[in-house]
Symmetry: C2
Subunit: 227 residues, 2 copies
DNA sequence: CCTACCGATCGGTAGG
DNA sequence: CCTACCGATCGGTAGG
């Protein structure tokens, strides 16, 4: 099983497998996980600038040196964490709209989609991530663009495609399906997303209120675009 | 023309009128105006934290001491400037909806309102102010609340009132006029406000595109709520 | 005497 | 892994 020579002059900076193929050092994994959790908490709470590397180290109960060893520098740590959450959000976006164009009862399917979408987006950690990315869009423009394209953008693209099909079939009247997708999203999510940005500490709507908000948005959408 | 005694033992710290009623020292006014303009530019561009008092002083071509003499400290300077713009925005909000409930041609009046609203809100300085307040909502929660209540909140309140009247008169079907006002706002403004937060450096829609966005939003609103 | 303003520098804290 | 410390920069204030 060809162990690599310890004196190898070109070791990968972070080997995917350690010597004897034992996998990465479990201590490294523990440290990285502790740092990631602590940094996520603090970044989401206070933003990039107001979170100190010392604070992250203290909360994660690791040394500051371990953070730099595992993540390079503060910017890389931030970027790596945010990109991880962004790809999670992108996967959700793909699943959300699946099957819409084939639904037997379109109004019911849209109401369910609206409720599911708003419930997901109105979770504190999702709202805080969105807010964090907006706060740091000046410092990390590429990150903001990647998030926008992967999360809301992917939902918008999937809705656009579904609405185009439904329009062709006469189930909706949406000659501009892209615009219809935007209208659907802002009708359902608009006020919840907006309020949180201005009052991130305020109480979120209750689940009942969220369903009501989503239903009202979908009802207005169906009145405007319904077959 | 009663000159005040120069040896007066209780001079006001900053007299509204100087000796001989000549008015405030014009040098003071010039300095304050220069500081306000420079600070506004920089705060809107980089946010609170990333703007240094030294930078403001350099851009305004005054000494740092003059900033502290005129505005107390950095937080007060920021608050004073933002509150000034907030009250300006509030006055616009009041005028925007005036006369809507009495319009002879409601669809036309709503289309004009939508265009005017979006054109105003989509000005770079308005978008930047909104973004700045969101960025600093963690540090200045009272400021964010005041802005939210004075600007979007006042438009929403005025629209709600107008829609309630129009519903009573049968010109609209809006049994929940508050919700209708939210839907109107997000249909017209949603995508423009949202995109700017994630890409503050990107090009804004052209005036033609803005009118199209507004028209599409108002058309959807009328299809959903129209008499 | 006052107000406005200057050059110089303070203590404290950030990322690394 | 920790303490100590660096070069840089911040908001705020000193004397004149």
């Amino acid at each position: 099983m060809g162990d690599s020579d310890v004196s190898d002059r070109h070791p990968p900076l972070r080997a995917p497998l350690g010597p004897r193929d034992r996998g990465p050092d479990p201590r490294t994994l523990r440290t990285r996980a502790a740092v990631a959790e602590a940094a996520t908490t603090l970044f989401l709470q206070r933003g990039y600038q107001d979170t100190g590397v010392d604070e992250i180290a203290a909360l994660a109960k690791v040394s500051k040196r371990s953070i730099y060893n595992n993540y390079g520098d503060k910017e890389s740590l931030f970027t790596e964490l945010v990109l991880g959450f962004t790809s999670t959000a992108g996967e959700f976006a793909d699943r959300l709209v699946t099957g819409l164009a084939e639904a037997a009862d379109l109004p019911q399917a849209l109401h369910e989609l609206g409720r599911r979408h708003l419930r997901t987006v109105a979770r504190p950690e999702v709202l805080r991530l969105r807010r964090l990315i907006i706060l740091e869009a000046g410092r990390f423009p590429a990150l903001a663009e990647e998030y926008y394209r992967s999360a809301p953008g992917r939902v918008m693209a999937a809705l656009t495609e579904a609405f185009a099909l439904l329009h062709a079939r006469g189930a909706l009247t949406a000659p501009n399906p892209r615009r219809a997708a935007e209208h659907f999203s802002y009708l359902v999510l608009g006020s919840t997303l907006d309020s949180f940005l201005f009052a991130p500490e305020a109480d979120l709507p209750t689940p009942t209120e969220l369903d009501r908000l989503a239903d009202d948005g979908v009802t207005a959408f169906l009145a405007a675009y319904g077959g």
